[in-house]
């Protein structure tokens, strides 16, 4: 967009202002002395939306230059997309019972069953793919929900302070004090039994996992609201809503996005924990956590039942963490890595 302006400015030496624009200027800025030179036609129908993209391009450029983050992003995307496609095209569904079962010395990885089969004959590759898909979906939804709630609450508390801050932060403290796992266990169990799907598990984790984002955004807003440009925005007559959404939020976007990424990793762990405990996604649906739980008893005999789901969890979390690091680096190159 910025480039387009420049092009328009250079290519349009022959003065082509819209008639409306000219009239407007006479009407509104009648007191301003007319420019001696011709007015160049600069604007386009998309207004100024492209400006932010330029800032984005800078961040994106810094992100793209980090090989580890890029590889992680590629791998994570591959896992997400690949698992979805595998569900459609793999010759077994995760629900299918094959004519093979894991017995002593049989049922390990083979050409027909790359990840082997379990003790009742499920194809483990289909199951791991399904579990991965559900985990990725759950984690992304959790990150979206918790970022939305946390950002809203943190922004309001940090911007308005006083009683708004008090009420919202005490509420946040309350949610923090609630033993997350216990509540997730109870609610997740209920929700999972009601509908048995990843969707409700994700919503419940998301609704309880926003506290960290809220505190982060609040702290950011507390410092941002004191910046002079906020006062300047008020001085031109901007409303509180406009200042929060258009002026403060873009300035706080970096930490919010980085944190959303890390929430993805946390959500994968939480969901796996719940499912491992038998409280998350319920059979016949599978998740990586429930697969590990199912394979746990046979780890010594049928190693593949444990190793493949566990490896997928570890790889996904590593990827997400590296992506998060890369984003942090891209948004704020001065900040050194916080994670050990």
């Amino acid at each position: 967009m910025a480039r387009r302006w420049k092009k328009a400015a250079v290519g349009n030496e022959s003065s082509n202002p819209t008639a409306a624009g000219r009239d407007f200027k006479r009407r509104r800025l009648g007191r301003l002395p007319r420019a001696g030179s011709e007015t160049r036609h600069i604007g386009d129908e998309h207004g100024l939306s492209g400006d932010v993209r330029k800032q984005w391009q800078i961040v994106l450029g810094r992100f793209v230059r980090q090989p580890r983050a890029m590889v992680s992003l590629g791998l994570f995307a591959l896992l997400g997309i690949g698992s979805t496609l595998a569900g459609l095209f793999w010759h077994y569904s995760y629900l299918d019972l094959t004519n093979q079962i894991a017995t002593f010395g049989h049922g390990g990885p083979s050409f027909q069953h790359p990840f082997g089969v379990d003790t009742i004959g499920h194809d483990l590759f289909a199951q791991v793919m399904e579990g991965t898909k559900e985990d990725v979906q759950t984690a992304l939804l959790v990150a979206a929900i918790s970022s939305l709630i946390g950002t809203t609450i943190g922004a309001l508390a940090g911007y308005f302070r006083s009683w708004v801050d008090t009420i919202l932060m005490r509420f946040t403290d309350f949610i923090l004090a609630v033993p997350l796992l216990a509540i997730l266990a109870v609610l997740g169990n209920l929700a999972a039994r009601q509908s048995g799907s990843w969707f409700w598990v994700a919503i419940i984790i998301g609704v309880l996992a926003w506290t960290y984002v809220a505190r982060l955004v609040r702290a950011d807003f507390l410092s941002l609201r004191e910046r002079d440009f906020v006062e300047a925005a008020r001085a031109i007559g901007a409303s509180n809503r406009r200042i929060i959404i258009r002026h403060l939020l873009p300035n706080a976007l970096g930490p919010i996005i980085v944190n959303a990424t890390l929430t993805v990793a946390n959500a994968i762990i939480l969901e796996s924990t719940l499912s491992y405990l038998g409280l998350g996604i319920q059979p016949p649906e599978v998740s990586l956590g429930s697969l590990i739980a199912a394979g746990e008893g046979d780890t010594t005999t049928f190693w593949w039942l444990f190793v493949f789901p566990a490896a997928f969890i570890v790889v996904m979390i590593l990827c997400v963490n590296f992506i998060g690091d890369g984003l942090r680096e891209a948004f704020d190159p001065r900040k050194t890595r916080v994670r050990v």
């Binding site: 200027k25 301003l32 420019a35 330029k54 031109i236 901007a238």
Partner: protein, 422 residues
């Protein structure tokens, strides 16, 4: 409302902005800070009113109160009226139509008063569209015109740049462009040149003048730089400890100062119209704490004219003499202050000639062999430290080394020059 003001509403010379009895308090852990203790001022159409005073004298707080920008912890009393309409107790939402349209503001530090994540074009468009019903495209063209008017070269290209791609002076021009985007009737400028490089200050003041010509707005200029005031203001209000202590036209303040604090300010300003041998006359002491209410004149502890009455009663603003009703000063000894002029305060230093004599007699060895001169004094060797100690309390430092010297002379120079060219 006061009937006089209602009557004035039909008068073209009626004040645009009228502040009456403005008092601002901040409650802090240490006690109540009385930041502003009764400011009355009127700003008429097309007028430039300068407010001078040192840090903490309440200048900025007065402007912030007028815009309703003070934090909620501040308690504000009195009255601020724009064209007779009371602004002080309006809610945020009711103030929005005034802000930027009727009254706009220029901030001190252009490095921080622009949003770093948006291009300057976006920010000017935002200001325009906050008050005018125009498309983004039209607003963008107006932005480019505005940038051209405030002296940004290649505005078509620069409009897409981000604040960090501009220098300080250029950013302040952008801030001025935003301030005049809606043809405001009043501009409040809070130390608009203070954060800038000396060489850029004069340019930005010129831009400010251009902005005033374009909008015919009245300007309330807050500064601690008397040079800036002399160049641009019509009237001057001197503030001390939260109150106006002297108010008058520029000529009245600069040629007939009648309040010791004003005299002190003028005496500590280096002059470019003398041969440079004039000594600076600083005001001793420091401004009073603003916590609690003072008894007596708050300037008394620093004032050479202070007498018993000054400790007992704070003087009110009163006309300095009957011939000039526009010139008011708050002092029990206006006449004495006026008659004694800046000689009221003790000059800061030995001048250069006697310094070199003393150098020869008091400084041992190598120092005495050096040629006397300001160059030597600006880079003191060990001998000069001895000199400084020997001549306590006054250290070496005349015209050239005065800390404010460059700033003041830089800002007044072009201003004086401009007045001679029509």
């Amino acid at each position: 409302m006061n009937p006089i003001h209602a009557q004035n509403a039909r008068d073209p010379y009626a004040p645009l902005l009228a502040i009456d009895g403005l008092e601002v308090e901040f409650r802090t852990a240490e006690g109540t800070v009385n930041a502003v203790r009764g400011v009355d001022l009127e700003l008429r159409p097309g007028e430039v009113l300068g407010i001078v005073g040192e840090s903490g004298s309440g200048k900025s707080v007065t402007a912030m109160a007028a815009m309703g920008l003070l934090p909620r912890s501040a308690s504000v009393r009195g009255s601020v009226r724009f064209r007779g309409e009371e602004l002080l107790h309006l809610r945020e939402r009711q103030l929005m139509p005034f802000r930027g349209k009727a009254i706009s503001m220029i901030f001190q530090d252009p490095m921080t008063s622009l949003n770093p994540v948006y291009s300057v074009g976006w920010q000017i468009v935002e200001a325009i569209r906050a008050h005018q019903d125009v498309s983004k495209e039209e607003a963008l063209q107006i932005s480019i015109e505005l940038l051209r008017k405030v002296g940004i070269p290649n505005p078509e290209d620069r409009v897409a740049n981000y604040p960090h791609e501009f220098s300080g002076g250029m950013r302040q021009r952008v801030v001025i462009a935003i301030a005049i985007a809606n043809n405001p009737e009043v501009i409040l400028a809070d130390e608009p040149t203070t954060a800038l490089d000396v060489t850029v200050q004069a340019q930005v003041l010129d831009t400010l003048r251009t902005a005033l010509e374009m909008t015919h707005a009245a300007l309330l200029l807050i500064t601690h730089d008397l040079g800036v005031i002399a160049g641009i203001a019509d009237r001057v209000l001197v503030m001390y400890a939260g109150r106006p202590v002297e108010i008058g036209t520029v000529d009245e303040i600069f040629y007939n100062p009648s309040m010791p604090y004003t005299l002190g300010l003028l005496g500590s300003l280096p002059r470019v119209d003398t041969d440079g041998s004039e000594k600076l006359r600083p005001i001793p002491g420091s401004p009073p704490s603003m916590i609690g209410k003072p008894t007596g004149c708050p300037f008394a502890p620093r004032c050479p004219l202070a007498a018993d009455v000054c400790q007992e009663r704070e003087p009110e603003l009163a006309p300095v003499n009957a011939q000039t009703p526009s010139h008011l000063a708050a002092c029990h000894f206006t006449k004495q202050a006026h008659d004694r002029g800046i000689s009221l305060f003790i000059a800061t230093s030995v001048d250069l000639d006697s310094a070199s004599e003393n150098l020869a007699t008091t400084a041992p060895g190598s120092a005495s062999s050096k040629a006397p001169g300001s160059e030597e004094l600006r880079a003191p060797g060990p001998g000069n430290y001895v000199l400084a100690e020997g001549l306590s309390p006054a250290g070496p430092g005349g015209y050239e080394t005065a800390p404010d010297g460059h700033e003041g002379s830089g800002a007044t120079g072009p201003a004086d020059g401009e007045e001679t060219t029509p």
